[in-house]
């Protein structure tokens, strides 16, 4: 059995198990938290493709997530488009935005990419919160084009309230599970497929790979753009799940939280980021009582893992590892 088939089967088996959860656990809080886990699983599985597999040091992933969320909210709010239809459209909008960012950044060297993507994310944030001109004037007050500091609410939902009544959140749980499985299977297909191999070749022997016609820029642009679809879709589903989209999705704390998931789990691995997402959400739950200390704890976790365990938890478990942190012997000279 190839590694790809194995990983996809594992993903489907896990999905099957998770599909049974609402039958046994009725607590709304747990179901909602697990739905949130699906959202973060989508984001980190795609960010991991960009960061760990393609080696693009992008910090624009949360901005792309925000693009998906805002696009959904705005399509619903301004045009009354049903959310279920707005979500995939938002995914495509995110792909376009991502491709534009990629065209501007990906020809540059690693650290330049990190700084530029961070700056682009910050600019998108500033445009959203600094725009105070009223675009429309609903009864609730002035509404800037991008929602300003308040953001959007009342842009419609997925319609489960009509279908399931007070149990609507279980409908969201299954939608989230479905989307997360799609995203994870996509990430497996990339890591274990031709694109993953191409990046492996570029890491192991850049000269040879380039001479065989493997263009880093082209492949990076592909991964950067394609992974944006699920990142945007995650944002779109986030909008549907919470019914509110505001500038908080741009916050450094959120970026830190998600980046930590990838680093703790193991960058570049199939399962590391998902493991990291689960662990950090549980840890976050544990730290809830110490509210103020949360960000200090997160910062420490991030720094300590990079310094002491750069290959993450998956690096502890597996010897064969195809990620950013692989250390093949240098060619002798």
């Amino acid at each position: 059995m190839s590694a790809r088939t194995r990983d996809i089967l594992i993903a489907l088996a896990l999905a099957g198990l998770l599909a049974l959860v609402p039958l046994f656990i009725g607590t709304r809080y747990i179901i909602t938290q697990m739905t949130l886990f699906f959202i973060w699983a989508m984001v980190v599985s795609q960010w991991n493709l960009v960061l760990g597999v393609a080696g693009i040091f992008s910090l624009a992933q949360m901005a792309l997530f925000a693009v998906g969320a805002y696009a959904t909210a705005m399509l619903g709010y301004y045009f009354g488009i049903p959310i279920l239809l707005a979500m995939p459209v938002a995914g495509f909008v995110t792909v376009v935005v991502s491709a534009l960012i990629g065209l501007a950044c990906l020809r540059l060297r690693g650290p330049y990419v990190a700084l530029l993507t961070l700056a682009i994310a910050q600019v998108i944030y500033l445009v959203v919160v600094n725009d105070t001109e009223c675009f429309t004037n609903p009864p609730s007050g002035c509404m800037p084009l991008f929602g300003g500091v308040r953001g959007f609410s009342r842009f419609g939902d997925l319609g489960f309230r009509g279908l399931l009544g007070s149990k609507w959140y279980i409908g969201h749980y299954y939608v989230g599970l479905f989307l997360a499985v799609l995203a994870v299977v996509f990430s497996i297909a990339i890591i274990r497929g031709p694109l993953g191999l191409a990046f492996q070749a570029l890491r192991d022997n850049p000269g040879y790979a380039t001479s065989r016609g493997i263009s880093r820029f082209k492949y990076q642009l592909w991964v950067f753009s394609l992974s944006a679809f699920f990142t945007g879709l995650a944002g779109a589903f986030y909008a549907a799940q919470f019914g509110v989209v505001g500038p908080i999705v741009f916050s450094i704390a959120m970026l830190l939280f998600l980046l930590s998931m990838i680093v703790v789990g193991g960058m570049g691995t199939v399962w590391g980021p998902l493991l990291g997402a689960a662990i950090l959400m549980l840890a976050d739950e544990g730290m809830r009582e110490f509210g103020d200390w949360r960000d200090i704890g997160l910062g420490l976790i991030l720094a300590l893992f990079v310094i002491l365990l750069p290959r993450g938890l998956m690096g502890l478990m597996t010897a064969s590892h195809s990620g950013l942190n692989r250390q093949p012997p240098k060619a002798s000279k």
Partner: protein
């Protein structure tokens, strides 16, 4: 005429202020290829230590500033010894130190917030009064900022060119292996550079907060601007960074005048992206660059 004086006055102030924190970042990147993402938190730390020294300890400004420089310099040293040094040998040092310093920056920022509170505070080190040229008021504080920035830049240039430590820093930045073969202990150079960068961040943070007030997360935008300046100048290029910082300050003043404050950063960034598409290794390229 008045408009020109106004733009020159605020542009040079901004640019000089940026230059001080940018030089530190460029020195650190030039020496050990480290993008220090906790620099923003160091800016805030410098501002708050100055506030604490002046209000709680009752120190005069001439003492409060060196105290802030010392605290931030020591913090820089700690960052080197606790985060950078253990990873120096790693093949992915650049990525790892970037992520680690994001984490450390968040820790530092939140420690500041817990200690001093999340609400904005005014920086007590602030000159009153202004000089009037034509009908334009140039605040004395702006003149002080410009003078201090120039002083800092001159001191850094003297340090780099005329001291043994400066020669070691330049040699390390230009060729790490060769520097070691000259008997330079590059670990010590790295530590020195981070300490210098921290001290410069303190000065920069005090200046920034004297204009826009103190907030625990005040360092974020200035850090991003400083990094962008480094990128435009070509990472690690110290003199280029100082020049680009001044140009960027003037440009920002022009943009603010023409388009308004709220979009200045966005437009600045678009210009930067255009520059990078035109010259991917920064304005001065890497080969023909006159670095340290």
């Amino acid at each position: 005429m008045d408009v020109l004086v106004q733009i020159l006055s605020s542009g040079l102030t901004l640019g000089a202020m940026y230059a001080v924190s940018t030089i530190g970042l460029a020195l650190v990147y030039g020496s050990l290829n480290m993008l220090n993402m906790s620099h923003g938190a160091l800016l805030a730390l410098g501002g708050y230590v100055c506030l604490y020294a002046m209000t709680a300890l009752g120190l005069p400004a001439v003492l409060a500033v060196p105290v802030a420089m010392a605290v931030c310099g020591i913090t820089g040293l700690l960052i080197y010894h606790l985060a950078a040094r253990p990873m120096l040998a790693s093949r992915n040092f650049e990525t790892q130190i970037f992520i680690a310093t994001i984490g450390l920056g968040a820790v530092l920022e939140n420690v500041i917030m817990r200690t001093f509170g999340p609400q904005p505070v005014a920086q007590p080190l602030n000159l009153q009064g202004a000089i009037v040229i034509g009908s334009v008021h140039i605040p004395n504080q702006n003149i002080l900022i410009f003078a201090v920035s120039v002083l800092m830049m001159v001191m850094v240039a003297l340090l780099l060119n005329n001291t043994r430590m400066g020669r070691a820093i330049r040699a390390t930045a230009q060729n790490r292996d060769a520097a070691q073969l000259m008997g330079i202990r590059i670990g010590r150079v790295y530590a020195q550079v981070l300490a210098i960068s921290g001290a410069l961040a303190a000065v920069s943070g005090i200046m920034i907060s004297s204009l826009s007030g103190l907030l625990p997360n005040m360092g974020g935008d200035p850090m991003l601007k400083a990094f962008i300046i480094c990128v435009v100048a070509g990472l690690g290029n110290v003199y280029g960074a100082a020049g680009v910082a001044l140009a960027m300050g003037l440009l920002e003043a022009v943009i603010q005048y023409v388009f308004g404050v709220q979009y200045s950063f966005a437009i600045l960034l678009l210009i930067v992206i255009a520059v990078l598409i035109w010259r991917p290794a920064g304005l001065f390229g890497r080969a023909q660059v006159v670095r340290l």
